[in-house]
């Protein structure tokens, strides 16, 4: 069993806006692309040209319908405070960083037992069958502090690439930060809080529909009583003085 840090100096995580995510998969592919050569790469593709194309992805978008809308739901590791994937790990390979709260897997000590993937209620772990180790979102730990990258790149790949601007990143441990305030304003929520994992990542719910189902219609001006005749329209137009 592996222990979690008592506290972490920061709680780095993602805030995902379900109101504007169009499900385009930009985040999932750019994530894969970066992390191929990143801390936990490669993200092996198993049957790249074959009958069951599958491979390792740290981020996946799920799409489902509710009664009145279609929701695109990107999901990756939520870097939980009480991460069951860590405490279940028999080798210490799965761990949560004390300095920023990022949950990582040490490939050198992972034995591929998959206990963590059973423990994670979100299905956010990815087993690399080819290499026999567990992999997962690193929150781009090799980007966010990296002086060898331009400043615009020092955020997780999924965040910088998101065309709609539906992804935010930062320290959710600071209640006064702009990010925390955004979460509060928008009613950001934890995914499956009943699991007791205290996820750091937050989701911003779709905003209420601005459509009022109440009758709303323009009032015809000066039309015939039945509202359809057009004599009144042209009579008014004759008198309308227009200026160029």
């Amino acid at each position: 069993m592996t222990s979690l840090p008592q506290t972490t100096q920061k709680k780095l995580g993602l805030v995902i806006d379900l109101d504007i995510c169009v499900g385009c998969q930009a985040c999932t592919v750019n994530c894969k692309e970066w992390n191929e050569g990143g801390h936990s790469g490669p993200l092996t593709d198993l049957m790249a040209t074959g009958p069951d194309p599958s491979g390792v992805w740290f981020n996946r978008v799920h799409t489902f319908e509710t009664e009145e809308r279609t929701v695109h739901f990107p999901k990756s590791c939520l870097h939980c405070d009480d991460a069951p994937c860590v405490t279940v790990c028999p080798t210490g390979a799965s761990y949560k960083r004390e300095e920023d709260g990022i949950v990582l897997v040490n490939a050198d000590t992972c034995i591929g037992c998959k206990l963590c993937s059973w423990a994670c209620p979100y299905g956010a772990r990815e087993y690399d069958e080819d290499q026999g180790v567990m992999k997962k979102c690193t929150l781009c730990v090799d980007r966010i502090y990296n002086p060898n990258l331009q400043e615009d790149q020092r955020v997780p790949a999924c965040v910088s690439t998101c065309p709609a601007g539906a992804r935010h990143f930062g320290d959710l441990g600071d209640p006064d930060s702009d990010l925390s305030r955004l979460v509060a304003e928008r009613g950001g929520y934890d995914l499956m809080p009943e699991q007791g994992t205290k996820p750091v990542n937050k989701y911003l719910p779709p905003r209420p529909k601005t459509v009022s189902e109440a009758e709303k219609a323009l009032k015809a001006v000066g039309m015939a009583d039945d509202g359809v005749g057009d004599a009144g329209f042209f009579a008014r137009l004759v008198d309308r003085v227009l200026t160029k």
């Binding site: 592919v29 040209t49 065309p163």
Partner: protein, 969 residues
């Protein structure tokens, strides 16, 4: 080491991930985003968006990020190929480039010196039509076009003939100011990243987004109001909105008389040759009726009338064109209640949207304190904005009534006064242009050994511009610019193979295509396409004698060509994204860009454009050959990009022209131009001052600038053509006026379709569909991660989608006794295809749809024969036809818009029936597997090739990132 001690991992958070970064332009779809390509160990480490680039501003979509897997694709061609077996068998021998070029030159040279129109040169989704069209003109064939005829010519022509601009490439919503955004028929497509970014900003500001679309996916999923319109009925929906706005007096009247032809006088003299044309003075200037001064030239009047019936001095009776417009749309035929049943949109929803449009336009008016000068010289100290913006694409375009519907959307925008104002839909340079823009298609003769006397593609303004013979019969192989499709401004690529096979209007000698999968998903009815390419004459020769094809990948079309000229990938080439072609500008100013080779090809392939110029030189084409007969562009396409001139000091790239590189727009060629682009991140962009950014069609500052840049022929204002005299001219011909009239068989159709004001009619293919038992509309769209991208051979993208299903409404499925995953037959009058069902709620009940171009043919794209794409994925194209049923005289029209020739993909009607229990659970029809060496599936570990260099340097402090932070003050 104590085995029970946790070994803490030392994470390198400061690795060196790239040796070099090169900026170029993405080519994974049609957006043309700026990308940074990060190289490591000579390989592509990763690609991300260029934050400085005007199109994508740093973001990048799934396709763009997966671009390196297209670059490293297993399906890449590696050497020129010459067919040795039967067409379609895929038996080739590899040949050297010298032999390939000699062979192509020989075939093409023979055609050019005998009958140049017998070369049909059609390019697909390439982005070099300025070069390819010019090449065709120098060759002397009128038979050239790109893929616009089967993609979006209705949107282009509908806009260009109304506003002098069009949705997407020639205009964009003012995402940062619009309060209400109405989008029609956008299937997660054109354009990709700008729409996503725009919607994100729009919604972050709290503006309202309404999507009119039979399917609620992608963009429509985040709409505040979804209008599940019945396919092909959008026109009626728009007419009803116009009806409501007119009735309620919610019209920007001053805008109409300032910027449109609403007050121009239309001659009312039925039966005469002038009926329906504008009354003009001796100088040809249209007349208006001034409240005080009577008939005056349109430019002179100060208080024009929009209604009335007047008699000119010569006795001509005239009415303002707006009178005709208002009378039409005030008709009770277009009341919300009257269109409710046909459109499937409730009258209440139509009324609500009309009310909201009016509210946004007139109660949320924007005023910018910007001084500007209109074309008359009058100074203004503010600009009024009506913050309603619209966008439309294939859902409007891909119907046989799409041209008129597109015009209707633009008229709706104009009535609200929202075109090119703050918050509205705004032009992107070099648009607006004169309505329609010049030039016109080059007229015959098509003389052996000579160039065309113009360009093959253009915009006709009357019957005199058609390409028809003395009997009114088509002169082009695709029948573009004939009486069947007079304003076919992008040609009809979807008809070329059929017509060439049928010899209708004549056979061709050489079919030359580039980057278009016409043997599969780009063809209506691919099974027929295969037949056209393999069918033989009695003497054993092929009906289409020679087929040259260029592409980078082993697509379904390859096996049908006689000669393959293998192209590079987009990361191995020079290109220009030119203002002469398909611009990437924004409402803030013009822009263009380059591609530069990021890596050298590791195969014996050459960039197609360089090959085309080389062929041009070998053929001795003017413009490509020096006087001594040598190649004018020995440096290939890059040489052409820098040194080719089109008109006075204009060239493919606008930036850093002139010998010193200090001129933009016009200027002599600059030998260092490409280096300047590279230094600037691969693009050039201008920033219009605020006083030139709005109402560009009438803005003196902008018009002078645009003229200076060579974008418009003069600085004259551009007056929006609500009522289209150009269309009326064709109608008059059909009524028996003028020298050039349609043959009898087309007369009624031309008359009915060329209405000078938008009309709505049932899409052609739907006529009788209900009675014949085809009750459902069938549509396609591309998933966002594959929209407009070349080949889902991409090993990353196919992990997201490797099989398409037929989506249908849950209730409709239940009605038919169909459940999720069930195998079904999709029947149309033209064929049947088998697939699997997925039910959903967010779709119009009478509509089924699927992801397009997922289905592949076995053996293509380097995928194994058991790939889901060719066993479970299906192509709806198999039940679509390129020809409508015969008319009473036996004539078959193309399944296209009668005005523009736009392929009517979305007119399809089908019926769905469950497969019998004993039927094999695999897609049909199946075709023999293509003879391509299958790639054995193997693990891909690209990351192993691009491992970072350890650094363990000083970490920089982490910073939070909030998207669209500038909007959250």
């Amino acid at each position: 080491m104590n085995p029970f001690e946790t070994v803490r991992e030392e994470v390198d958070v400061t690795p060196v991930v790239a040796d070099e970064v090169k900026c170029t332009t993405c080519y994974m779809c049609a957006c043309r985003c700026g990308i940074r390509v990060h190289m490591k160990n000579g390989k592509i480490r990763y690609i991300d968006g260029n934050p400085d680039h005007p199109v994508n501003k740093g973001v990048l979509c799934a396709k763009g990020s997966a671009g390196l897997m297209n670059h490293y694709s297993q399906a890449r061609l590696s050497k020129p190929l010459k067919r040795v077996g039967e067409r379609g068998a895929g038996d080739f021998e590899e040949i050297e480039w010298d032999e390939a070029l000699a062979l192509a030159s020989e075939w093409l040279g023979t055609v050019r010196n005998t009958d140049p129109k017998k070369l049909a040169f059609f390019t697909g989704r390439d982005q070099s039509q300025s070069l390819t069209g010019w090449w065709a003109a120098q060759f002397g064939t009128p038979n050239f076009a790109a893929h616009g005829g089967f993609c979006s010519v209705n949107m282009a022509a509908g806009g260009l003939y109304t506003l002098g601009g069009a949705f997407w490439e020639f205009g964009e919503p003012d995402w940062d100011r619009a309060e209400y955004f109405l989008m029609f028929g956008v299937a997660e497509d054109h354009d990709s990243n700008p729409i996503k970014a725009g919607l994100g900003r729009l919604k972050t500001r709290g503006a309202k987004f309404v999507s009119v679309n039979p399917v609620r996916t992608g963009y429509s999923a985040i709409a505040d109001d979804w209008v599940p319109v019945r396919p092909g009925t959008d026109g009626l929906f728009i007419f009803a909105l116009i009806h409501e706005l007119l009735k309620a007096d919610k019209i920007d009247w001053d805008y109409l008389v300032r910027y449109t032809n609403a007050h121009w006088l239309v001659i009312d003299a039925p039966g005469t040759a002038n009926h329906g044309l504008f009354a003009r003075d001796a100088d040809g200037e249209p007349l208006t009726w001034d409240r005080n001064d009577g008939a005056v030239p349109a430019k002179a009047g100060t208080s024009p009338m929009l209604t009335g019936r007047f008699t000119l001095e010569d006795g001509t009776v005239v009415v303002p064109s707006f009178e005709l417009l208002a009378r039409r749309y005030l008709s009770t035929d277009y009341a919300p209640e009257a269109v409710e049943k046909t459109t499937g949109v409730s009258a209440a929803q139509i009324k609500r949207i009309a009310a909201e449009l009016a509210e946004a336009a007139f109660e949320k008016e924007i005023t910018l304190d910007v001084e500007w000068e209109d074309w008359t010289g009058k100074k203004h100290d503010k600009i009024t904005g009506r913050p309603v913006a619209m966008h439309a694409m294939r859902g409007i375009s891909a119907h046989s009534n799409g041209f008129h519907t597109c015009r209707a959307i633009h008229i709706l925008q104009v009535l609200l006064g929202s075109v090119d104002c703050p918050g509205g839909w705004r032009f992107k340079a070099p648009f607006p242009k004169p309505i329609p823009p010049g030039p016109k298609p080059a007229q015959p003769p098509f003389t052996p050994g000579e160039a065309l006397k113009g360009m093959p593609i253009g915009n006709p303004t009357g019957p005199e511009d058609l390409l028809v013979d003395d009997n009114g019969q088509p002169l082009r192989i695709d029948k573009a610019y004939s009486w069947e499709h007079p304003i076919a401004a992008h040609g009809l690529m979807h008809m070329v193979m059929h017509n060439a096979w049928a010899g209708d209007p004549y056979p061709v000698d050489v079919l030359f295509m580039y980057m278009a999968n016409m043997g599969w998903n780009s063809a209506m009815n691919p099974g027929q396409a295969m037949k056209y390419l393999t069918d033989k004459n009695a003497d054993g020769s092929y009906k289409i004698p020679k087929f040259i094809y260029s592409d980078a990948y082993w697509s379904e079309t390859i096996a049908y060509a006689d000669l393959i000229l293998p192209d590079t990938t987009y990361l191995e080439r020079w290109d220009c994204i030119s203002l002469l072609d398909r611009p990437i500008s924004s409402a803030h100013g013009g822009a263009d860009a380059i591609r530069q080779p990021v890596v050298e090809p590791d195969r014996d392939v050459r960039p197609f454009q360089t090959v085309l110029l080389e062929l041009g030189a070998r053929l001795g084409l003017p413009g490509m050959t020096n006087e001594d007969g040598s190649n004018k562009f020995p440096g290939g396409y890059a040489d052409y990009i820098v040194n080719h001139e089109r008109g006075a000091a204009l060239g493919p790239l606008a930036g850093w022209r002139g010998e010193d590189g200090d001129q933009h727009g016009r200027g002599a060629p600059n030998p260092n131009q490409l280096q300047k682009y590279i230094e600037n991140g691969g693009f050039w962009q201008e920033h219009l001052p605020m006083e030139a950014q709005f109402l560009k069609h009438a803005n003196a500052n902008y018009l002078a600038h645009a003229h200076r840049m060579g974008w418009i022929p003069s600085a004259e204002p551009i007056v929006f053509q609500l009522y289209s005299e150009h269309l009326q001219k064709f109608r008059l011909a059909a009524e028996g006026h003028g020298d050039r009239q349609p043959p009898e068989q087309h007369r009624k159709r031309v008359h009915d379709m060329f209405d000078p004001l938008p009309i709505w009619y049932t899409p052609f293919e739907e006529e009788g569909a209900d009675e014949q038992g085809y009750p459902l509309h069938a549509l396609t769209q591309r998933p966002m991660h594959m929209y407009h991208s070349w080949g889902s051979q991409n090993t990353w993208l196919r992990q997201i989608t490797a099989q398409n299903r037929l989506f249908m409404h849950r209730a409709k499925a239940a009605e038919l006794g169909i459940e999720d995953d069930q195998w079904i037959w999709i029947d149309s009058p033209h064929g049947r295809v088998k697939g699997q069902v997925k039910t959903m709620d967010g779709v119009n009940r009478d509509t089924v749809w699927t992801w397009n171009a997922i289905g592949k043919r076995k053996g293509a794209w380097g995928l194994s024969e058991d790939a889901p794409e060719s066993n479970k994925g299906f192509l709806l194209n198999h039940v679509i036809t390129e020809l409508l049923p015969p008319k009473s005289d036996g004539h078959r029209y193309s399944n296209s818009d009668p005005i523009t020739g736009q392929a009517a993909w979305f007119d399809l009607r089908v019926r769905i029936t469950p497969c019998a229990a004993d039927e094999i659970e695999a897609t049909e029809p199946q075709f023999p597997p293509l003879n391509h060496p299958n790639m054995a599936p193997r693990p891909g570990r690209h990351g192993d090739d691009v491992k970072p260099t350890e650094s363990r340097g000083q970490a920089t402090p982490q910073k939070d990132w909030i998207a669209n932070k500038d909007l959250r003050s």
